[in-house]
Subunit: 217 residues, 4 copies
DNA sequence: CATGAATGAGCCTTCATTCAT
DNA sequence: TATGAATGAAGGCTCATTCAT
């Protein structure tokens, strides 16, 4: 029911352009691109996509607005890439090499760990909090496809777990969506800088979902 | 990981202004106001606050844009009232008159039932999907306050349940937020017009949260 | 080899919005639209399409820039309609009801009269001086089509004249284009406010084209 | 009434920078300058001055945008020089050394030949199709002055011809402008790569202007 | 000489809001 | 009450031009 509190501007960052995040030489282009993406992701999450102007992002980086267009074609493209980065963190890494040896429950734990790590990151937070509505229809489809693929991953894990007995019988579809809800809401209340580390959050989440609130005798 | 599918425009509504929803006499003003609010809530949720223009809302009602200003001072005020309507559905109704007789678990069940009913409604859906970022800072505080109050309600219930033994020991804060996450995400995937009725959804949610995924021996 | 000298701003027009050109009641919309078109045509011709901002046009009319968007969807649409107005002046009026009775030469004279009247008008001048390059590709095709149709008209007239002996044998294609050139260049040097009236210009043009520079014995 | 069809990109030019047009040694600078001018003239005519970016020109030459600034101070200067090149082709070459021996008609024929050769060239085409409106006011005056000088040339020739009886009596001013119109419009419809060679075009133009459309008995 | 990077200036377009009828 | 007309404010995007390497 709550949502992102504005972060304390990080002491207005260092005065240098690119906030001193760039030192390399020729691969600088890609590096700068990443810095823009991460900054944009953060600001989008803090203020909302439409409340964020390109000047806001540029200011944060101590660069000018047109400079952003050296790295991205449009504001929309920036958001698209941010969200694709988040999705790739889950999709691009296969769940486990020798997956044959692990139970569904074990896989689920690993998945939750990775998903939460993604969601508390700037990119993942932006994926959830900004959503896909601001995107152009065609880009919206791209991100939705990625999201659906991630959802499918969890459903598969649940099915496997139910099959091998490591997870209690349940409807994989509904369960997955309720589970994702619990995790997707994290950006609205959890701060990595708070008392609980990400590992702790993963553990709490697993406890909540695995044990259940009903006392076990 | 998924989000709102565009609703099918409700058969483009009847051709008459106000979509024929107004018949009364003098209290029409308040009625019309409600119709605007509900329509706005729906469209905001479908397209996003900033993607929705006042013309969109006016068109949906077959009225003109300035007419909206007879009922609301600003677009911001519309959103504020929508979200306050949602919050009021939870806040304004005390959980149970003689709450002394019920256990925490019983209260939790009632709370979940009411909260989910609220969240699948146009107002509640808009509260979650639009969020408070589009609101003016002062209005944002108002809604946040309401959300916090609702969160507090659940924490209290959890504490009571843990105390009376009807709920397994848990950290009320974390548990509440994860629980709210599971429910708040509902608007992104659940359709009241689908296979599962709201009652069913409440039951599934309770099952998910109470039983836990770990098999009980 | 010369081109439009900037017109002397017409004493900065009357101070009233719409330059006092609007008096009607309900058909005002269409009237205002026409006033915008004519003003835009004039300014486009004077300064060039890209050198003309929407503010320039709005200022000329003592209205604000967004007001232009009540009447037109885009700057491009304004130019398109201007040019279509010009073309319609030629295309929409059949050359002569009882064309069977007139020779090609007679038809040619009428055509020249009408074409020159069109070309010295604001719309026609803009058609020639602004050209179609600033238009969106799809709109460019529309105007080109109209231009081609007009060219075809003259070719047909020339053919008929050659056939009936009222015009000396010639290649209709080349002749038409050279002829159009003589007329299309008029906006670059002729001023209706100068010594020669439009009728006079028509006569001079016909003299030039019909008689030829070679002395007739 | 028609205008420039897009030229077929010249087989996208050779892949080498400067399109392989430069081989010399030290006077390369001036050579490269010329290549830029001709390329710019061509692209300006095809797409229009404002639709052409410096990147477009640089790409065509397989060089980078800032490199253009080694040869020209501004985009405006490029256009100015292009148009001055065209004008110089007419102005800088005296019409005929021993002009005393030739009639006005003979001079006219030579003038037309040279003017049309100029106008079908990249520079001349750009002079006409781009016009002087995009130029800075001061540069505009320079080009206008040149154009006026050329117009004066023809008027003088016409006067001489009328005086020596080789040209039929006519108003030199009007006649010159109509004549220029016929020729200036050539870039809008004539292609050197088409059926008619430039010599042929000169002849057709002379026929059109000298003989007249009225049948001579 | 060449160029990747960066930017100031400017324009089209949108939209919430106001006003006159 | 209702609305067509009008607008101030603001944002995304482009591009000629400059600068550092």
């Amino acid at each position: 029911m709550s949502e992102a509190a504005e972060r304390p501007k990080a002491a207005k960052a260092s005065r240098r352009a690119w906030s001193g995040a760039i030192q390399g030489r020729s691969e600088q282009f890609e590096l700068k691109r990443q810095v823009v993406l991460r900054t944009a992701a953060r600001v989008f999450s803090e203020r909302g996509f439409h409340q964020t102007t390109l000047v806001d992002i540029a200011d944060e980086l101590h660069i000018s607005k047109p400079t952003l267009y050296h790295y991205f074609r449009s504001k929309d493209e920036i958001l698209l890439e941010v969200q694709q980065m988040a999705i790739a963190q889950i999709i691009d890494v296969p769940l486990e090499p020798e997956s044959g040896h692990s139970t569904g429950l074990q896989q689920l734990k690993e998945f939750v760990s990775r998903y939460i790590s993604m969601i508390v990151d700037d990119f993942g937070t932006c994926l959830i909090m900004t959503g896909v509505l601001p995107l152009q229809p065609e880009n919206r489809l791209i991100v939705r496809k990625g999201s659906k693929d991630i959802e499918k991953m969890m459903r598969e894990i649940l099915r496997r777990g139910v099959a091998d007995g490591s997870i209690a019988p349940c409807d994989p579809k509904i369960t997955a969506m309720l589970f994702f809800g619990a995790m997707n809401w994290v950006p609205y209340w959890y701060r990595t800088s708070g008392e609980i580390a990400v590992d702790g959050l993963v553990q709490r989440t697993l406890d909540f979902v695995l044990t259940g609130l009903e006392p076990r005798t």
